[in-house]
Symmetry: C2
Subunit: 250 residues, 2 copies
DNA sequence: GCTAGTGCACTGGTCTGACCAGTAGGCTGC
DNA sequence: GCAGCCTACTGGTCAGACCAGTGCACTAGC
């Protein structure tokens, strides 16, 4: 029975093959950030396709954040150092299209931030502690100026903690999710009547978190950071979603 | 003083404007999943551009996972329900290009899975508990067959927990990160000499986690799930990264 | 000799028009 | 009534063209 076993062939579009090749070269490191691709006209010779096909491939690579092209540039497209821009884009789309609720986003942020604090308490260096000190000091002065300045300084603190966690993935994801959350509700907070009280309470909470990180007490830092974030955002989360956030608290 | 204040104009490429318009329509919901876009030739009339421009825009939208086109389809491109495929792609690229270590990935997974268990213990329904029961039963029978079957059943359990957490973002991210981790080391585990012991130990641990979820003890379920994952993967994580994982344990 | 300005050669962005291989659905012949 | 063909579409690809930018070599003026 049975002659040769044939497999279904998947028709692969020409531009996809080009994307694969260039993407592979970037991931393998043979095409390092800062290097230039050949020009589109050169690529169409190398790949033996038309310029439209080359361009469609470049569009895909650009959408993935791997390359950038600039009109008039005598060199070809530039290979970019990886940035989470594509990650950010797809998460933002997810949040909008799939209608992620604020509760889900805040809950996720509490989880990530808490883990970052847990790790940072164990792994932080003296330099990183100084950065966190500086960030809280910046929050204190910024609170006198505007909510926007305060928010920026607050970001600085959380980012310092995330860096100190030593986990790049954690750092990138906290960054992405944070900016989505801030985008969603920054204007609400900015116009909140109890804004000043919220800010000064937040500063006190951050100081407690930092003290726990400095003391090397990871579980405490993690618990305090969750509480800090909960109290800062809970007023903007619909009541029916608050139970899930409270479940994360301790 | 004086004179009108001019703003720098950013040149916007035609295809980007098209992407923005279509993307906006999808995010606003006026273009629902399953609906069809007009054909490329129709779009070039509506947008008053050439077909190349339309196609480049469609390539970007396709790379972002918003639409899909099929040659020969008498309808135009199909608007897709959002899938985390784009998220997956960018995270995979991040892992490869930015050289995320296995330790970072496992640590991240421990964090997410732990949070999912914490929430699931509080929010799970009876139906969801039954799904978890079934998943563990499947793990037990699959362990007799092959590692691949076991791994698939294991995924089923974690996915059931993530669903029960009620946090879609958590669910999607656990899914994405898990598949990256499995991609990295599944063949190592499959050929591990103590594979059978690892599987049966893993089953026992999963049963303990499920018991805690059933009892509604979130913190316990979270702690046990972290430990389960730690013990399952620690053998494959370089020694210098293990400290960070241990810091997550309790 | 050195600098400021001018071309030029090249880039990417866009357009036009064409061909091909698929697909779906209507039409025809049985 | 149904099987099979035909046609009018689709997306994928190609070829060639034009334009507005950019960087660099060259040149004219100091």
């Amino acid at each position: 029975m049975g002659g040769p076993r044939f497999e279904p062939v998947r028709t692969v579009r020409a531009y996809e093959r080009i994307v694969e090749q260039i993407e592979g070269a970037v991931e393998a490191g043979s095409l390092a950030p800062g290097q230039r691709l050949p020009s589109e006209r050169e690529l169409m010779v190398q790949f033996a396709v038309s310029r439209s096909t080359v361009r469609e491939a470049l569009r895909v690579l650009q959408a993935r954040g791997l390359v950038r092209s600039r009109p008039g540039d005598p060199n070809g497209a530039e290979v970019l150092p990886f940035t989470p821009a594509a990650l950010h884009k797809s998460l933002t789309t997810l949040a909008r299209v799939d209608q992620l609720s604020l509760g889900e986003l805040v809950g996720f942020r509490m989880t990530l931030d808490s883990a970052a604090n847990l790790l940072a308490a164990r792994l932080r260096t003296e330099t990183q502690l100084k950065e966190m000190d500086a960030a809280i000091a910046a929050m204190r002065t910024a609170a006198e100026i505007s909510y926007e300045a305060f928010s920026a300084a607050d970001v600085g603190f959380h980012d310092a903690v995330a860096r100190a966690s030593g986990n790049k993935l954690l750092q990138i994801c906290t960054d992405v999710v944070r900016s989505i959350v801030l985008n969603l509700i920054s204007e609400k907070i900015a116009s909140a009547p109890d804004r000043d009280a919220l800010m000064s309470q937040s500063i006190r909470h951050h100081e407690e978190v930092l003290a726990a990180v400095r003391a090397g007490d990871g579980p405490l830092a993690a618990r305090l950071s969750r509480r800090t974030m909960y109290e800062y955002y809970v007023g903007y989360v619909p009541a029916r979603e608050r139970e899930a956030l409270r479940a994360l608290l301790d």
